[in-house]
């Protein structure tokens, strides 16, 4: 479980929340605190008070993967191979182990054809896949995705959904403005002005949002 206890950070205030295994989608209006919550879960920022515990560990003591909103503009290394290997290199893992993990990750995501190509040569979609591979290569317990899908086409969104489902990551927390994507998750958290408006299964959360544009259109149009 991921447990939040009396969490306070700027305007974000969460008294108590538990997130189970699987894919959790965080939704809410612009400025409701979604990115703030995700950064706290990833350990990028520390709460002003309160705690976040992931299976007994705080985020900074656990393995976390992170993909931000514009991964194609936040590339650390010049080649595909180096970008994916980065988290293993930073941990000073031996070179042949790095090679093994990187190849395994690229094969499982079906991007081994990208090989050692320059990141500059890749399309926007390929860059997102590489960013995801770089987040998954060290087998994190928690994967955090900050609105990574805001400019992806349907095929790529579905491919990534498949990769996420097949990955061995215990917890996936993603922020999205696509309610159809959010509805496909295992859990949904709706933030309103920095507080939990509603949290639970997609059915429970969206039933409280039926009169808002957040209600998935596909559900309204169920034939």
């Amino acid at each position: 479980m991921i447990r939040f206890d009396n969490l306070r950070y700027r305007s974000l205030a969460i008294d108590a929340l538990s997130i189970g295994k699987g894919i959790t989608s965080v939704i809410g209006r612009n400025g409701s605190g979604k990115t703030t919550l995700l950064k706290l879960c990833a350990g990028i920022t520390l709460p002003e008070s309160g705690t976040i515990i992931i299976d007994g560990n705080p985020p900074r003591k656990d393995e976390i993967g992170w993909v931000n909103e514009f991964p194609d503009r936040n590339i650390l290394f010049a080649t595909v191979h180096e970008e994916i290997a980065s988290s293993l290199r930073f941990r000073h893992i031996p070179g042949d182990e790095i090679e093994e993990h990187v190849m395994s990750c690229m094969n499982s995501m079906e991007i081994s054809h990208l090989g050692k190509r320059s990141m500059r040569e890749l399309s926007g979609g390929e860059k997102v896949l590489v960013a995801l591979a770089a987040a998954l290569v060290h087998q994190p317990r928690l994967l955090v995705l900050d609105e990574y899908d805001s400019h992806l086409d349907t095929d790529l969104t579905e491919k990534i959904e498949g990769i996420l489902r097949q990955s061995l990551v215990t917890y996936i927390i993603r922020c999205t403005q696509d309610m159809e994507t959010a509805a496909r998750g295992d859990n949904v958290i709706c933030l309103i002005n920095g507080k939990i408006g509603c949290a639970g299964s997609p059915e429970i959360v969206f039933s409280s949002l039926v009169d808002t544009p957040f209600y998935p259109l596909a559900w309204r149009c169920r034939t």
């Binding site: 514009f70 936040n74 010049a78 180096e82 290199r89 930073f90 990141m119 060290h138």
Partner: protein
Amino acid sequence: MQDVRIRIGIAAILSGAAFFTIEGALAAFIWWLIFSHPLKVLKKIRVVFPIIIMIVFFSIIMEITGGGGLAYSIRMIIILLIGMWLYCEHQTGEFLHLGTWLFGDRAGFELGMLAEMAMQSLDILSSDFLQIRQAQELKGVRWGVRSLIPTGIILVHGTLRRADDAAELMAVRGYTRGGTFCPEFTTTMRDILGGLFALCMVIISFVPASEFFILYR
């Protein structure tokens, strides 16, 4: 030229020779004509046009005030050409190999990574600059000195934001200090020839002409 170590070495000795003497500058220029791709380099010359203008400006001042401006401008422009050649020959990812080879997997890895990130940032900056210019012209803002300020603000702000994002990414990916890396280089015959020739040109440029004719005397 494939081997970045030899390229950097060549650029360093030729630039040094060009900086100190006019003979060194001419030797460096001859090397540049033979081993670089002059047309390819000259195509990118407008990128450094502001620097050339600055060099010419200071040369004129020097010439007016005391002389030596012409020699200065020749030497500086040749150093610029060597720099342009180095920039054109740059291959993606090689700074990481060079940094780690030079300074190890802590400081060297970080320097190399920093250099690669800087190169990528340059690409993004130049594409952003173009789009900002287009956006402002569409808005009816005439391109000139006054529009440089808001452009500069947007570019700086964007760069700082990306720096924040990169720092977050590095932290989450477990960065503390340096990283495992095994540098690899490809050295070709052209690299070796180019390096030897550069060395010869530099030595010749420092040896007085009379010493060449020592046997003749």
